[in-house]
Every structure is written in C-alpha cells, then in structure tokens.
C-alpha cells in the first residue's frame, strides 16, 4: 500500500516538473494545426505538412544536429585527453584541473560574444595574423563566423562545453577509475590492456549521459546561433524565432510547427539520456 502511494508521488512529482513543457507541447501542437495561437485559420494539418515539406526546416534541423554533434565530439575528446594527461595530485595536475573547470559558468551568450571578437574575419586572430604577415586583409582570413558550415559555432561551443565534460572526466577517473584498474591489474592485465579494456570503456559509459546533455544544450542554443551562424542555413532555434516574428501573421503558425520539431529532438534526447544513465550505472 505504502509502496504504491510512493510510486504515485514520484511519478506525479516528475510530471509536475515537466508540466510547463508538456502544456507547451500541447499548445504548440494545437497552434500548429490551427486550433490555437496567432494567425489561426481553423483546423487543418496543412501547416504542419507545409513546414515538414519545406527543405529549409530540415536544413535547420540538420545544421543544429550536425554542429551540436561536432562540438560535443571535440569537447569530449579534449576532456578525455586532458583528464588522462592529468590524473595525479601534483601541483601541475591540480592547476590543470582548475584551468579546465574554471570557464564552466560562462554563459553561451558570453562565449559567443568572445567568439565573434576573436574569430571573425577582422577579429583579434585576424589582426595578429595580419601583424605577422600571414594575411594581407580580412578576406584572406578563413571564414568561420557567419559561415554556412558553422565552424566558429562549433569551435566556440566546444570550448564552452569542454569544462563540464572535463569535470565529469576528472571525477570518473578519481572515483571509479582506480578500483577497477587495480582489479584488472591484479588479474594480470598489462597497462595497455587495462587502458583499452577497463579505463576507456569506463570513461565512455560514464561520460555518455553528460555527452547527451551537452549535445542537447548546444542544439537548443538560441543566442550562440543568433550571433555565430550564417544567414543560411539557420540553426533551428533561430529559424523558429524568425518565423515567430514574421510580419505575415499566417506564417506565425509555422513557428509552432518548428517548435514541435525542436521538442521532438528534446524528447528523443531525454529517452537516450535515460537509457544512457541506466547503462552507465550498470557499468559502474
């Protein structure tokens, strides 16, 4: 009896925390089929199909997914590399930990602003390159801010999310690492085998939930996209907001359909994250 009551409370509590988003999904869903929201024109799935049939929507989704994946991968590789290089407690190692983790509280907005100042074709790097004679003018500087590929976006967000993944890596190596590695060695594994069979799998399992969090945070970032992306294709959050502000009120509903698309990506990530957490705990 008591257990059943507890089961209900936990689910209700989770549901309450999710409620604002669930209501938002329902509202966006109604608005997307024309039953609510600005510019509603009566029920009909036409708008959803129009948005789903518009290559621009998918270009935006692909841009966001692709850049988020690249930035996450770079940040994860860097975090694991730094984590493995500085496993000790010596002064230099502690300094490396501090330097890695320190930029953790930097908002996306600030990272993006710094990214523009540093990486644009007339930014600080371009000026240094000009000063030492590497380039003759801004046009010769590789284009990374406002470029269709989103190189500057990827670099900036990889830099921004590196501290979080580094933090998790340090913590995994300090807590789960030693015991498992010790056990492997007593069973006769060579250092190389221990690294390949124990340390790396332990890290990848342990890091996966954090990696999914980082991916979804980057894919959903509005302000960094607005400052660093090009005008085409646009990141999904930026395209969504542009549609939301369209002067043609009948296009406003497209924003709700795009909102749903963003939420679908979010829900997928939630499912993956939950699965990864379970898997990660099993492995730990």
């Amino acid at each position: 009896m008591r257990a059943r009551g507890r089961a209900t409370i936990g689910l209700v509590a989770g549901g309450l925390v999710a409620a604002p988003v669930l209501i938002g999904i329902a509202y966006a869903g109604l608005a997307a089929v024309g039953l609510a929201g600005v510019g509603r024109a009566g029920a009909g799935g036409g708008r959803v199909f129009r948005v789903l049939g518009d290559p621009e929507s998918w270009e935006a989704v692909w841009w966001s997914v692709r850049t988020a994946a690249a930035a996450t991968a770079i940040a994860a590789v860097a975090a694991v590399g730094v984590g493995l290089a500085f496993r000790g407690q010596a002064r230099g190692h502690r300094a490396a930990h501090l330097l890695s983790v320190l930029p953790l509280p930097i908002p996306h907005l600030v990272a993006a602003a710094a990214g523009v100042l540093l990486l644009s074709q007339s930014g600080v790097l371009a000026r240094l390159a000009y000063a030492v004679g590497l380039i003759n003018g801004p046009a010769q500087m590789p284009l990374v801010v406002g470029d269709p590929a989103g190189v500057g976006f990827v670099l900036t967000l990889a830099w921004k999310e590196f501290p979080f993944l580094a933090l998790v890596t340090f913590s995994l190596l300090a807590t789960r690492g030693p015991a498992m590695e010790e056990a492997a060695r007593t069973l006769g594994a060579t250092p190389r085998q221990t690294f390949r069979r124990v340390t790396m799998p332990m890290l990848s399992r342990g890091l996966l939930p954090a990696i999914i969090v980082v991916f979804i945070v980057i894919a959903g970032s509005y302000e960094a996209g607005a400052l660093l992306s090009g005008s085409h294709p646009q990141p999904l959050p930026v395209l969504t907001y542009e549609r939301y502000l369209d002067v043609d009120l009948s296009r406003r509903g497209d924003a709700y359909a795009l909102t749903l698309l963003g939420l679908v990506i979010g829900v997928t990530a939630v499912a993956l994250h939950e699965w990864a957490r379970a898997w990660s705990d099993d492995g730990g």
Partner: protein
C-alpha cells in the same frame, strides 16, 4: 625515462594551452570593454575610454542587480521543487523511476526558445508576463528539472539511516528534515542552488519571451548591446556575467581541492 620526459613536455604544452584557452576570452573582453576606436588591423586600441564601466552606475548596474535577484530567487525555488521531486523519484524503482526521471529531464532538454514560445501565452494570460515573478517562474522551469535530477542522484547515493535514528528518538518529519537531513546535505543543497542560479543567470530566450523586454537582466542587456554594435558595453556586461560566478567556482575548487563540484 625518455618516455616520461616526453610526457612531462607534452603535459607542459597542454598546461600552457589550457591557460591560453581559459584566459584569452577574458583578455579580449577586457580590452574591448575599455577600447576607444579599434579598427582592423590595429592589434591594440588606439585610444581608451572608461565609459562602458561608467554604466555600472546605470544600465549595467541595474541589470546586474535584476539578474542577481532573479537568479537567487530561481535558485531557491528550484531547490524547493527539486528536493522533494528528486527524493520522491529516488523512492521509485524500475520503469517508474526511468519515466519520472525522464519527465524531470524534459524541461532541461527542451530548447528554451520552444519552451518560451509554448509558455508565453499562458504567462500573458495570468498576467505574469513582463514581471520579475514571471521571469523567475519561467527560469524555474529548466532549473527545477535540473535540480530534481541532481537531488535524484543525491538521494540515490546518500545514506539516510540517520533519519530513522532521529525518528526513533521521537522527532517529527519536519524536525528531522530541518535538524538532520538538510544540515547533513548542506554541500549538496549549495551545489543545487548554484546550478539553479547559473541556469537563470545565463538565460536569454525565456527572459526575452516571458520578460517581454521589460525585465532587463544582464544577458538581455548584453544581447541588446551586441545587436546595436555597441561592443564596448557588451564586453563590459559580458565580464560582469562571468567574473563573479567564476570567482565563486574557483574558490570552491580551491577550498575543497575536489573537482566533483557538479555532478549533473
């Protein structure tokens, strides 16, 4: 021997790279915040001005105050929601726990612009749009989800048998909470509050949509300056956004000598 020397050298290079990586943005923002005319290809500004920092007495100062108040309230609110939610979810098992945890994670994973567009109508409806309270509530949507997940991991790992002991001595549930559980988890509560504070402190889209521009937090002010091409002001605001939380984090890492400050 040769290997370890090579390792030491590569570590030194890596350490230098980390220093540059952590420091460069601050140098660039710091110089920009005080630069007068600074056109390509000048590596260094031709003139300096303190007018951006003078805004501490004006727009940047009031935005810092607004952000501090809103982020502190969000932190408190998200702990109040996250603690019981995390604890209730921790009491579950099997698919129920997975489902409840997934629900709590949803507000964290949903793109803020999507959450904001979905929520704007309701905040307007109940008269909370454009108010500080409304912005706090909006920020609390993702912050509470994060705090719930955080407390879930806390309650899955900590040993709460001391509660039973206190109860066996006749203490009521509120007394146990106030005198035993919360004091024992002080560090975890502080970390959860720090997470909630940061979610709110760096939020842009939800403030934009629910605050309607009338609630001027520091990120909104910085975003607005960037939009106007007022880089000097934006850089000063950006530094205000990062320096205080970094000092707190640095102090925490330094004081504890630990690195697992956050384990979301």
């Amino acid at each position: 021997m040769g290997v370890s020397r090579a390792n030491a050298a590569s570590r030194a290079v890596l350490l230098a790279a980390l220093t540059v990586s952590a420091g460069t943005p601050f140098v660039v923002l710091g110089v920009t915040s005080a630069a007068g005319s600074w056109f390509f290809p000048a590596v260094w500004p031709a003139s300096w001005t303190g007018d951006a920092w003078a805004l501490l007495a004006g727009s940047l100062g009031s935005a810092t105050w607004a952000s501090t108040a809103i982020a502190t309230s969000t932190a408190a609110l998200s702990c109040l929601v996250g603690w019981p939610t995390g604890r209730a979810i921790a009491a579950l098992s099997g698919w129920r726990r997975h489902l409840a945890a997934a629900l709590a994670f949803l507000p964290v994973a949903a793109p803020a612009i999507a959450v904001g567009i979905g929520a704007q109508y309701f905040f307007l409806r109940v008269g909370l749009a454009g108010t500080w309270a409304g912005v706090v509530l909006a920020h609390a949507i993702p912050a509470s989800g994060l705090a719930s997940l955080y407390f879930l991991s806390v309650f899955l790992t900590v040993d709460l048998r001391m509660e039973d002991e206190a109860r066996s001595l006749g203490a009521g549930p509120w007394l146990v909470l106030a005198r035993v559980t919360v004091p024992a988890l002080r560090r975890q509560v502080a970390e959860a509050a720090a997470l909630g504070f940061l979610v709110s402190w760096s939020q842009v889209p939800l403030t934009l949509l629910v605050g309607g521009g009338t609630v001027r937090t520091l990120p909104i002010q910085v975003f607005s300056y960037l939009h106007a091409g007022e880089e000097r002001y934006a850089a000063a605001g950006a530094l205000l956004l990062v320096v205080p939380p970094m000092l707190v984090l640095g102090a925490a890492v330094f004081a504890t000598g630990r690195t697992e400050v956050v384990t979301a």
